[in-house]
């Protein structure tokens, strides 16, 4: 059997695969030809009704094998499909693709597909945020060790840490919303973007050509049209969109990496199916394989982004074809991989196992160290020498946290001051600062507006995907 992309066999969702499948693309080409023909007729060209009705009857029944036969002979994919469509809709043959260049269907279809894919990803981001929001809410005030330099630092809460991940994804969602709202169609521009062939068709009528551009774009669901293009739309659009996908991958990689570190600590675990095998050799193992896969795919998406920059940078004058093969690979794969990453992220977030007991043990072990800071302050207030007390704490801390506060209380330096740590100083909740309130603010003040925007911009996808 020949090579098949693992994105198809293993990783990407059926929904995203269907979006980027050949059938959907050719369906879009035919719709673009229909929109063009309709626009041209409405603006006065003599196109018979039968041409439109036959084309309309064959929007979704292209025979990909027959088109491939044409392509072997013609060495041109768009022309192959025009011929195949002509066989199926003979009355439309003479009027199909009138005045257009290949980029009319290829570029415009890519823009439709990218927009729909962004909407699907937006719905998936919504699902990640919903799933993480539940964890953040439930553990909003559960104290846990915070780490700087991956060394235990002061305390934070489990929920607060989750909001750090959520905020990254929320920023990605805002970027996606912006890209979806501002994406402009290539529209009807002709071979070098000057619309010369259309001006010819409409006998020099400037207004009609401009109207055709706007009408066709609106018919394909785009309110905004690029005012100027070369033969293709500027490849800067691809670079901007892939930057957002790369951003999603970065957020997911950060989340997944944190999870892998915490799973090592035994504090936070990704879901594990009852029959799942951790290791073929070591049956006791429970590996964070979903998080590892997320990191792996994320690295791929992040690296794909560079292709789009280079393509945008390398375009010569009104166009060169060195974008084609690269875009054909990079754009769908970036979307398929980002899709796989977000499905994983949702699955992991919805099934996160929070080990409160282990988290509590780790906190308890560190509490005496944290309490020494307050002890030092009170020692100084009671008349002690800050540097002297600091040195006592330092030397005693090096012996570990066991009985640290009792040991300090027995040291002459503290004893003579009558200062000792109280139980209240060992209450972890007193060390989490505003973490629980920050969680509340994020969940109740920031997130609802964003979720609202997500549902408005990706109504179908969001409704289907946000249910966790």
């Amino acid at each position: 059997m020949n090579w098949v992309s693992p994105l198809s066999t293993r990783y990407a969702s059926p929904a995203m695969q269907a979006l980027w499948g050949e059938r959907r693309r050719i369906g879009l080409w035919r719709r673009l030809w229909l929109a063009l023909m309709q626009g041209e007729k409405d603006l006065g060209l003599a196109i018979p009704d039968a041409a439109l009705s036959q084309l309309r009857a064959h929007l979704d029944d292209a025979d990909l094998d027959k088109a491939a036969e044409y392509e072997r002979r013609l060495r041109h994919d768009v022309m192959a499909h025009i011929h195949h469509l002509g066989d199926q809709a003979p009355a439309a043959r003479a009027f199909t693709h009138l005045g257009a260049t290949s980029a009319y269907v290829t570029d415009n279809a890519d823009l439709v597909l990218m927009r729909e894919s962004m909407q699907l990803l937006l719905g998936r981001l919504g699902a990640v945020l919903v799933a993480m929001g539940k964890v953040a809410r439930r553990y909003r005030a559960v104290p846990c060790l915070a780490f700087t330099h991956f060394q235990p630092a002061q305390l934070t809460t489990v929920g607060k840490r989750v909001t750090l991940w959520m905020q990254d994804f929320a920023l990605d969602a805002e970027e996606l919303l912006h890209r979806i709202a501002t994406l402009r169609f290539r529209g009807v521009k002709g071979t070098t973007g000057t619309q010369a062939s259309f001006l010819e068709l409409f006998d020099g009528n400037q207004a009609k050509v401009a109207q055709l551009d706007a009408r066709v774009s609106r018919a394909m669901g785009f309110e905004h049209v690029l005012p100027v293009t070369g033969q293709t739309y500027t490849r800067k659009l691809d670079a901007q969109i892939l930057a957002v996908l790369s951003g999603i991958a970065q957020s997911a990689a950060k989340f997944a990496t944190d999870l892998r570190l915490l799973q090592h600590e035994g504090e936070l675990l990704e879901p594990f199916e009852s029959e799942q095998v951790g290791s073929s050799a070591m049956p006791y193992k429970r590996n964070p394989m979903r998080a590892e896969r997320m990191t792996s795919l994320a690295r791929y998406v992040i690296e794909l982004e560079g292709n789009a920059w280079h393509t945008a940078a390398a375009q010569w004058l009104e166009r060169t074809l060195d974008d084609s093969a690269n875009r054909r690979l990079v754009i769908p794969e970036a979307f398929l991989a980002a899709d796989a990453i977000l499905v994983l992220a949702t699955n992991v977030a919805a099934g996160l196992e929070v080990r409160e007991e282990t988290i509590g043990e780790h906190v308890a072990k560190t509490m005496p160290f944290l309490a020494t800071e307050r002890l030092l302050m009170r020692g100084v207030k009671a008349g002690g020498d800050r540097q002297q007390l600091h040195e006592v704490i330092r030397t005693q801390s090096l012996k570990g946290s066991d009985n640290l506060l009792d040991r300090l209380a027995r040291m002459a330096e503290f004893k003579q001051l009558g200062v000792r740590a109280t139980d209240a100083e060992l209450d972890p909740a007193a060390y989490v600062g505003r973490a629980p309130q920050q969680v509340d603010d994020f969940l109740d003040r920031v997130l609802p507006d964003l979720m609202h925007s997500i549902q408005a911009a990706a109504p179908v996808a969001a409704a289907a995907e946000v249910q966790v």
């Binding site: 929001g133 539940k134 005030a141 559960v142 109740d444 966790v468």
Partner: protein
Amino acid sequence: MTGVLVQSKLPLPLLRRGKVREVYEVDDTTLLLVASDRVSAFDVVMREAVPFKGAVLTQLSAFWFDRLKSVMPHHLITADADEIVSRVPALAPQRRELHGRAMLSRRATTVPFECVVRGYISGSAWAEYKQSGTLAGESMPQGLVESAQLDPAIFSPATKAEQGHDENVTFDHVVNALGRLTAERLRGASLALYEAGRDYAAKRGIIIADTKFEFGTTPHGELIVIDEILTPDSSRFWPADRYQPGKSQPSFDKQPLRDYLADLKKQGKWNGEAPPPPLPDEVVRATSERYRDAYRRITGRELE
């Protein structure tokens, strides 16, 4: 544990007497809630009291308050009678009466909505859905059967009615009344509290089908959960091993009582309205045992 309590009488100002609870004022910032052993069925309060019921409601609430405190701060100061008496010495003579059933609480201004969460479709929600396919006027997935699980669970607020039944309202109604921030917080906290409780109880053989939370605001403006929480009286508890979607489910706690009364109604011996019929000892005992079993399963402890 002392005998049953039908109605408490304490030397404190009585603020409210509910179907089951008396609420007393301790001072400006503190309340005492006393759960009696009164029981109601079919909206009628029975004459007989169910032993241990008040203690189950209070101790189970105390268990949940502590367990869920990281989700939402609560009003409970202590449910330990000795601790209560040491803080309110005037109650010393009633020490035995308070044991297990009294809750010393922070006083808060009550939020004027019942925060109902439904994880399964039952009762009035099922009636509405069957008739119009909606819940509190909002559209729902098609094809649900009675007692089906709702996933995700649904926040279904209601007004607090002084008389009669609470009335369901939409989320937007709560937003308009309290502002978006408070409304979001109530919804988020209610769902999180319910889901945490549902998941925990499910592992112990009890389905918490739906529940009702009450919230209050402290003088510092902090939103806290008050009253009782995830008890058989504020929730529908179903035995998980007998769960069969497609019909109404037996109640984990009140089924012996309901069965007995339903039988009387069927035989035409009771019209379903006050005054209630007398209850045989075995019905009272069986109901009491169900309440204690719920407590035992959820907390893993015997009721003291």
